[in-house]
C-alpha cells in the first residue's frame, strides 16, 4: 500500500481548506453587511468541515495516527502544505471575492475530478464538498459581477483585486508538489495542471460578464507553499490559530 507516499498530496488539499477557512473566519463583523458576515462564515464553516475530514484521513494515511487537532494545531509553519493564495492577509472585499472566485473554481474542478479517485474515503469527501464549493463559486461570481459591473469605483477596485490575486494562482496548478506523483501512480489524485484550463475558463467567463478584463501575466509568482515555504502572514495566522491549544494543551469547551 502506498498510503504513506500520497498522504502529502491529501495534506495539501486539507491545509488549503483549513487556512482559507481561518482567513474567511476573520471577516466576521467586518463584511460590508450583516448578511455577508453570515455568507462568509458559512463558506468558512464548509471549508473547515472539509479540512477536518481530510486531516483525519491524513492522520490514518501517513501512519502517525495523528488526530485532526494534532495536525491543525501542533504542526509548525514549515509542515503546512497550503498554497500562498489562502494564507494572504484579509484585504478589501473585492480582493476576497477575487481570491474566492479562483479558489472555489479550483476546488470545484478538483473535487469533481476526485470523484474518480481510487481512495474511497477521499472520493466520499470530494462528493460532499463538491456541492459546497459550487455554492462558494456562485457566491463569489455573483459579487464579482456586481462589483465589476457596478459603479466606477467598484469596477476599479474589482479590477485591481484581479491583478492582486494573479501571482498566487499558478501555485494551485503545480505538478511538482509533494505527493502528487505518488497520488497519481496510486490512481488517487488529480494532476493539478490538468485542472488549469477548466478553472481559467470558469474565472474568465465571470470576469467577462463583470465587464472586467483578465490582468496581464504577473511578473512574479508565489511558490513554495506545498513544500512548507510560506510568506510572512502565515506565521501570524498560525500564532493566532494555534495559540489556545498550545498554551492550554487538551483544552475542552
Amino acid at each position: 500500500m502506498t498510503g504513506t507516499a500520497y498522504s502529502a498530496y491529501v495534506l495539501g488539499l486539507a491545509d488549503d481548506a483549513l487556512i482559507y477557512s481561518h482567513r474567511l473566519g476573520e471577516w466576521l463583523t467586518w463584511a460590508p453587511q450583516l448578511e455577508e458576515d453570515m455568507a462568509l462564515a458559512n463558506v468558512s464553516l464548509d471549508l473547515i468541515g472539509q479540512a477536518r475530514a481530510l486531516l483525519t484521513h491524513v492522520g490514518s494515511l501517513d501512519g502517525t495516527g495523528r488526530s485532526e487537532d494534532d495536525l491543525a494545531y501542533l504542526r509548525d509553519e514549515r509542515d503546512f502544505r497550503n498554497v500562498h493564495l489562502v494564507e494572504q492577509r484579509r484585504g478589501d472585499f473585492a480582493q476576497e471575492m477575487a481570491r474566492m472566485l479562483w479558489f472555489s473554481a479550483y476546488q470545484k474542478a478538483l473535487y469533481a475530478a476526485l470523484a474518480g479517485s481510487a481512495d474511497e474515503q477521499l472520493r466520499a469527501i470530494a462528493a460532499k464538498a463538491h456541492k459546497e464549493v459550487r455554492y462558494h463559486h456562485d457566491h463569489a461570481a455573483q459579487w464579482v459581477v456586481r462589483l465589476g459591473d457596478g459603479t466606477q469605483e467598484s469596477h476599479a477596485k474589482m479590477q485591481a483585486a484581479l491583478t492582486w490575486v494573479a501571482p498566487y494562482v499558478d501555485e494551485l496548478f503545480d505538478d511538482s508538489a509533494p505527493g502528487v506523483a505518488e497520488a497519481l501512480a496510486a490512481g488517487v489524485g488529480v494532476l493539478p495542471s490538468s485542472l488549469r484550463a477548466a478553472v481559467s475558463a470558469d474565472v474568465e467567463a465571470v470576469v467577462a460578464e463583470a465587464t472586467l478584463t483578465m490582468p496581464a501575466v504577473p511578473k512574479w509568482r508565489a511558490r513554495g507553499g506545498r513544500d512548507g515555504v510560506h510568506s510572512e502572514p502565515m506565521g501570524y495566522l498560525l500564532a493566532e490559530m494555534q495559540h489556545l491549544p498550545r498554551s492550554v494543551p487538551g483544552a475542552r469547551w
Partner: protein
C-alpha cells in the same frame, strides 16, 4: 457601507413539499438574486426549507393599522360566517 443603503427583501421559505411558503423574516441585498442567496445563508442553515421566495419589501402593499377598525372589526359579530350551524349526520365520520 451601511446596510441602510441596500434595499430590504422579505423572505418566504417552504419547509417541505406540500406546505406553502411562510414568511420568515427579511434580508438586505443589492438585488433579488443576491437576496435569495442571503436568505439561503440566513434562514436555511439548518435545513429549514426546500424553496425560497423573496420579494422587495417596497413592493408589498399592506393593510394599515389605522384601518383596523373598518377592515377587521366588522367581522367580529358575524358568527353566521362560521360553518357551525350545520347538523353533522352521525354516519359521516370525517367532515
Amino acid at each position: 457601507m451601511s446596510e441602510g443603503t441596500l434595499p430590504l427583501f422579505e423572505v418566504f421559505v417552504r419547509a417541505k413539499r406540500g406546505l406553502s411558503h411562510v414568511h420568515v423574516g427579511s434580508v438586505h441585498a443589492p438585488d433579488a438574486t443576491m437576496a435569495v442567496r442571503n436568505a439561503r445563508d440566513l434562514y436555511t442553515r439548518r435545513q429549514e426549507g426546500v424553496s425560497i421566495w423573496v420579494v422587495a419589501a417596497s413592493d408589498i402593499v399592506a393593510s394599515s393599522p389605522d384601518e383596523k377598525d373598518s377592515f377587521f372589526d366588522p367581522a367580529g359579530d358575524k358568527i353566521y360566517r362560521h360553518p357551525t350551524f350545520y347538523d353533522v349526520p352521525e354516519d359521516v365520520e370525517y367532515l
